[in-house]
Symmetry: D2
């Protein structure tokens, strides 16, 4: 009884802080929209949402939480889980390592010593991971990916066809990466098909609430906070968390681990999802990006919440955690 | 009562596994002694110790636990804590960032964008950190360092004078790094004195048991497991843990975080210390190194213990932890 | 009269030395055949030809001078001349610079500061140059290339269709480079067509005698030594010579300029052509390559001939030259 | 008689063009003074001199030809000649290669494959070369260097003591390079002494006329144009010319070889000396530098003179040369 009371108090406090942080950062307009395709430069830069969901399914939402946006690189984390589950660690590690790099997310540099992509969170690794999706043709492989996202989202995912078309046309750097991976024998020869798949996974539409649910599932060792379904195996969710912590925020990952200390993944669509193991997921949507490609307000929100609620993985004291 | 019983059973089980792992790996003679100075190439390559200490002061030792060896790079972690405590994060971050690098520990490459060393666990960062030790002259600054180690070790530390003399003579790469740091304005002009200090910190003699104690103190948010003394502030110990996880194992750090998932630091003397937050410290001494400069058997021991006892920071289930 | 006599004596002496060098190096079997496509690994590794032609059309041939082989990267030099002549220096320099690189010929690294390929002798630059061949479709553009080679060879060039097919299948690294160039806006969107063209230019069959003729034409400021035709403008031939001297021998170019000092271009088919301005062309065919991708015996022959006849561009004394 | 007349006409024409170029470029104030030491930032940025000397000792001077300035990196070329003459090519090549690099002149990156400096024109190579000056102590080694410069200048060289003092204090990047070279076993342990020597060679005072004389001597296969003394062996002068062409203009060398095509060396003091083999030396002094560290007006002057007089090493037609 006392415990339930505590839960309510903690939840209230969390909501209060979210509202406060949202209000304080609402006017922050630093950063710039992603511009490599026109579609991303066309979104409303002022959109700002903070969403959270506990592993028990309790939620807190603030701001434009119904606003959809493309998931972009955050999809890499889910696809990585799929590859691990389908093929096992050994096969996956042959194609993408787990070493953080100081290079930008779209770097073409491979891990030459091991003849693989450096990690699954940079584009080269994500394309290598996408190549592992099985199926006789593009339609079949798309279905595998859509089914994966459906398990997390609880609904059939929608794809932003304009973004997808644009990514496909503009994706020559990724195409270059694809052929380099093929040349190194890291991926099979269905390069264009795999790129189609990769562009599609990036163009899936989500809301901040969706991301919070995704984060809660991973934080909950793969158990979906609302359906109770095991969307990914516990052992796999552990690997997803590690890679999110060490490589999830592009070349800002080291600094993020230090100051925020929450396994997280960001996308150039403006989303960031963070996972607090055994506690829940937090997501921010705010499309103005910094030089690393991370949401400016997103980073600020996580810094403030991590400090306020002792969410850093190595914090001595995590009261919210104990109350969950 | 039942809990104490559980503690005893857990401790017995842990000791049993340590003995088993030690026995199985005893014959493993892969790797090579560090050879950049003759003194390190002269140690007995077969020495092999596993030591552990819980935050409550319970210990488990197996093998050559009384054997002393030079602490080498593990000293970087303690010195980093000292710098944070003395000067605060902002000043420290001006001199050394927190970004993992794919470069070897003795790389001369700085973080040019921020005009600082990439992180405090590579030599450039460690020398930058050593430069922050205050004092009017070398003797005074040495005393500060020795006092730091004394707090952790519970005794006045001994320095291996032969190794120190050798490091000083052979340390021209570090001397080059020192002058580069000076050139960039990262350190002050007492380069030779700071190098003396750095070579001394590397030449301090420890046993595997000492390292386990050090690890337990850091894992215990800075509270020494035997003296109860706060040897380093809790907030600082958090930063030490983060940097240990992301940068502690040289360019193997990403893989270590993935497979072992324990914040750790290794030294070319053959030691590795791991810190399991709220649980304790584990140390291995075995001087044959792999190409990254990490103890070969040390890595194997940590892999096995992490798996057996679910010690990975993101493991779903940590029974040992709950029993502590 | 005396001059003619001198010419004859010089010619005799040159032939004598070629025979001698050929004889002495005939047994040298260091190096290995190019193996990235099976066709190149199938040639007879012992083939060995030395051919020379003066700007006046006098020739000296030793060994397997009728043996055809694929021209490979040597084609880059002729294509560079074509691009300069067709589009002018300014347009060409927008796509490929003239900076030697320490990187291998197939490096994917571009000159990011100038958003262009580093130079026209590495693959990225050569593909950028091939993209400048005009024509409505592949057939028309192929015709432009074949006509270019016809001017140099004095006959319709033959293409090794097996090598071409193999290059096309195996050319995924070049495909990656192509899409990267497209992504940077360096080339137009006819990537596959341009690659087809590039693979074709590399698959053209030549003999050592052909290469000597090509070399003589370039050394003769573009005037063909046999037909008297201006196959390339004098100003363009100067640029070809410079780039051959600074970038022609892959990452061995600096050492080559130092010890041999003859503008030259090599190909992984085993050919090397050298150009002594105002004197003539020298070619070697010997398919065993060193780690840089240069013919092992080819380099040795040039070293010996350069020394014997003072052919280095900065030699104080060039008797052969004065007698030409 | 006709020939002498031609010589006079050619000389008049050359002087006329120099005057014209000097006049046209006099107002060009792009670029910035070197600022790494205060002394270099204090010179008059408007100084502008063009000087030339033929191998036969005829001269043409325009502008501030009596103005002294520190020779800086141009000294590297003379020191390279000294090392070659004293120790022979093999010993020199063990310490510094001949590969152009895309890195800045003060790069600390060595040629790790060969365990040597990449070339003698970057600082690491120049320090390696300075280390080869023999002598029991600094005074003796200084004397060797001063005697070398005396042979070229025809007078005892003066050292700018203020610049020397400043270089010594500010030279921590070079000190870092020195210790790195020592660490790699490329130089001996007299690091500070060798740096003293290196700083001294850079601080020698010259005029544009001096540089033209130096250039003429090297262009004349080592024979001094005024004293007739063999200041350096012909074979050595060839190696100096090659390295000047491929590495003399820092990371601008490739572009310089392409557009100017004259072996040359520049210094951050604002001087550039060019050597036209068998013809003479040309020097410019103008202290405003571009981003590569080369004199802005210096480059422009050489571009114009090279074009006007066909001085490019691969120019088809060099009338001035034939008239010399």
């Amino acid at each position: 009884m006392a415990e339930i009371h505590d839960h309510q108090r903690a939840a209230e406090w969390f909501k209060h802080v979210c509202r406060d942080v949202h209000g304080r950062l609402d006017g922050l307009d630093e950063g710039a929209l992603a511009s490599y395709i026109p579609e991303l430069a066309r979104v409303d830069p002022d959109h700002f949402a903070i969403a959270a969901m506990t592993v028990a399914g309790r939620s807190a939402n603030e701001g434009d939480c119904d606003q959809t946006f493309t998931i972009q690189s955050i999809s890499k984390l889910l696809m990585y889980g799929l590859a691990l589950e389908t093929h096992g660690r050994d096969e996956v590690l042959k194609r993408a390592g787990v070493a953080p790099t100081g290079d930008p997310f779209n770097s073409i540099k491979l891990d030459e010593a091991h003849r693989r992509a450096p990690n699954p969170m940079v584009n080269s690794g994500a394309i290598a991971i996408a190549s592992m999706v099985e199926g006789d043709d593009l339609a079949a492989r798309r279905e595998v990916v859509l089914a994966l996202f459906e398990r997390y989202l609880g609904r059939r995912p929608e794809v932003d066809e304009a973004v997808l078309a644009s990514e496909t046309v503009a994706g020559n750097r990724n195409r270059a990466i694809g052929y380099l991976l093929l040349n190194e024998g890291i991926i099979t020869d269905r390069v264009e098909e795999t790129l189609d798949l990769y562009f599609m996974q990036c163009s899936i539409l989500v809301t901040a609430v969706d991301l919070a649910v995704i984060g809660a599932a991973i934080a909950n060792h793969g158990v979906h906070p609302m359906t109770g379904q095991q969307v990914v195996a516990p052992q796999v969710s552990r690997d997803m968390l590690t890679v999110a912590l060490t490589c999830g925020m592009y070349d800002y990952a080291g600094e993020w681990a230090y100051t925020v200390g929450i396994p997280a993944k960001s996308g150039v669509g403006g989303g960031i999802v963070g996972m607090i193991p055994d506690v829940g997921g937090i997501a921010v949507y705010s499309p103005r990006l910094d030089a690393h490609g991370n949401s400016v307000r997103g980073i600020r929100v996580f810094e403030e919440l991590s400090e306020e609620f002792d969410l850093h993985v190595f914090d001595a004291d995590r009261p919210w955690r104990r109350n969950t």
